[in-house]
């Protein structure tokens, strides 16, 4: 799945799912690193979304302020 295509909310949901599985020991040790990589990817995506949202918000709010 392209990281651009997953929504922020879906990403957060996936991270929560993975966290659940880790906590419930539903994951094989072999898979752990892979899942972590997925999580970091998702977070990266989220961060980027957040940053872009932030900068846009800044821009918009600046416009209002004017």
């Amino acid at each position: 799945m392209d990281k651009k295509e997953i929504s922020y909310t879906a990403a957060i949901k996936e991270i929560e799912t993975i966290l659940g599985k880790i906590e419930n020991q539903e994951l094989d040790v072999d898979e752990l690193a892979g899942k972590l990589r997925r999580v970091t990817e998702l977070i990266k995506t989220c961060k980027s979304k957040l940053h872009s949202a932030e900068s846009e918000v800044d821009k918009i709010l600046k416009e209002i302020g004017d």
Binding site: L19, I22, I43, K47, A53, V57, L61
Partner: protein, 457 residues
């Protein structure tokens, strides 16, 4: 026989006389009523005394009596001055008398004295009785209750031309100062003697025939002795007057007299003159009332006009002032409305501006808060994933360690160490010696190595 057993009339009368004289030596006091009364020209007075039953008029006792001329003048004068009453038929008397008996004329009382006090008491009692009787009829106030005219101008007079006071009365009425015209009409009646009641009643009858022509009736008679006036105590007369359809005004006798008819009359005056004054007063009063009303109506009419004038003036001024006030108020209301609208509009706009600004602020704050919360959630998730993994690794490490120990514990070398050994034959641990033939070689393992041996038995 006849002579011895009978007496002659003279003898009998003589015996009666002697008995009576013995029995009535002293004079006696006798109460009786005079039934017949006769003053003889000779100066003697002959009387018949009677006693009537308590409640009847039937004669229960009677006796002749005489007052000799020698005593009569004294007795009569004393009696009449004391009682104001003539010795006459119908009056009750207390007499002091000798019982006389004359063989020819029979029994008679020789009156020596008459007590005027007894008769006086009797007159008063009689008068009282009449009053009580009248009272009992319930008509005492009937004449008083008749409406009295405003001005008693048509007056029926019951009197006699010769009666004292009549002329005074008519003069007074006709020559009154106020020049009020009175219509006087005399209805003659006897005003003296025992025929008074009947005569007056007859005169009243005549008045009654022309009732509508008159306002009032006056009964007048000036002066007179007690006895003269006692005829005005008559029950029937009083009874008649009480029920007479016109107001009756009495003026009988002197100042101190008060005959019974005074009590039933509409108004009692002391004397005929007093009646005239009384009647005149109404005219005088009425005239002055008319004058007063005339003045009053004039002044009230004038003041009504003054009041109305003022009212009109007040109304004009009121209209003027309140119209001006009305206009001012209307104007100021408009001004106020405009000012209020202006203020409210500006305030409204300000409020809207403020709200919009606040919305903008809320938006900024909300947006950044939103972003911050998202970011911190994200960080929290990463941290939680990290620590969950850490925990997992720790757990797996532990598990592997435990498993390693368990495995080590299961190693057979540990048993061999304690001196146990395992022998093998053809690579298999020997559990049953019979499986091995004698002379065969077996290998035995001990802790520090192994050795081979041959089976001897």
């Amino acid at each position: 026989m006849e002579n011895s057993s009978s007496v002659s009339l003279l003898e009998l009368n003589s015996q009666i006389k002697s008995c009576l004289h013995k029995g009535f030596m002293a004079p006696v006091w006798v109460r009786a009523e005079i039934n017949q009364y006769n003053e003889h020209y000779s100066g003697h007075c002959y009387i018949e005394l009677i006693e009537k039953g308590a409640n009847t008029d039937s004669i229960q006792a009677s006796v002749r009596a005489t007052i000799w001329a020698s005593a009569f003048r004294r007795i009569k004068a004393h009696f009449e001055t004391s009682t104001g009453q003539c010795l006459s038929e119908g009056i009750k008397v207390l007499v002091r008398a000798h019982v006389d008996y004359h063989e020819v004329y029979g029994i008679s009382l020789n009156i020596r004295e008459i007590d005027p006090n007894y008769t006086l008491g009797d007159l008063a009692r009689k008068r009282l009785e009449t009053m009580r009787k009248l009272e009992a009829t319930g008509i005492m106030d009937m004449n008083k209750e008749l409406p009295f005219p405003v001005v008693p101008q048509r007056i029926a007079i019951i009197s006699s031309l010769s009666a004292a006071g009549y002329e005074d009365f008519t003069n007074q009425m006709q020559q009154n100062k106020n020049k009020i015209h009175y219509y006087l009409k005399l209805f003659p009646a006897t005003m003296q003697g025992s025929s008074v009641p009947l005569s007056i009643m007859a005169a009243l009858d005549k008045v009654a025939e022309h009732e509508r022509l008159f306002d009032v009736v006056v009964v007048i008679r000036g002066g007179g002795s007690k006895t003269d006036l006692s005829h005005f105590d008559d029950f029937d007369l009083a009874y008649y007057i009480a029920q007479f359809p016109l107001p009756v005004i009495t003026g009988i006798g002197h100042e101190k007299d008060d005959p019974v008819i005074d009590y039933v009359a509409h108004t009692r005056c002391k004397t005929p003159t007093a009646v005239a004054s009384y009647l005149l007063e109404f005219g005088i009063e009425f005239e002055s009332e008319l004058d007063w009303l005339n003045e009053k109506i004039s002044s009230e009419s004038k003041s009504l006009l003054v009041v109305e004038k003022q009212r009109l003036k007040d109304l004009s001024e009121g209209i003027n002032a309140s119209t001006k006030l009305y206009m001012e108020q209307a104007e100021s209301l408009l001004r106020e409305d405009l000012l209020q609208t202006e203020a409210a509009t500006k305030q409204y706009l300000q409020q809207l501006n403020f709200s919009l600004n606040r919305l903008g602020d809320s938006l900024t704050l909300g947006s950044y808060q939103f972003l911050n919360r998202s970011q911190s959630y994200q960080e929290k998730m990463l941290y939680m994933v990290e620590s969950a993994m850490q925990r997992r690794f720790e757990k797996e490490n532990n598990r592997l360690q435990v498993l390693s120990k368990d495995a080590q514990f299961a190693n057979p070398d540990n048993i061999l160490k304690k001196g146990y050994s395992v022998s093998y034959y053809k690579g298999k641990a020997i559990k049953d010696p019979s499986e091995i033939d004698i002379g065969e070689t077996i290998e035995t393992r001990v802790y520090k190595g192994s050795f081979k041996s041959r089976l001897l038995e």
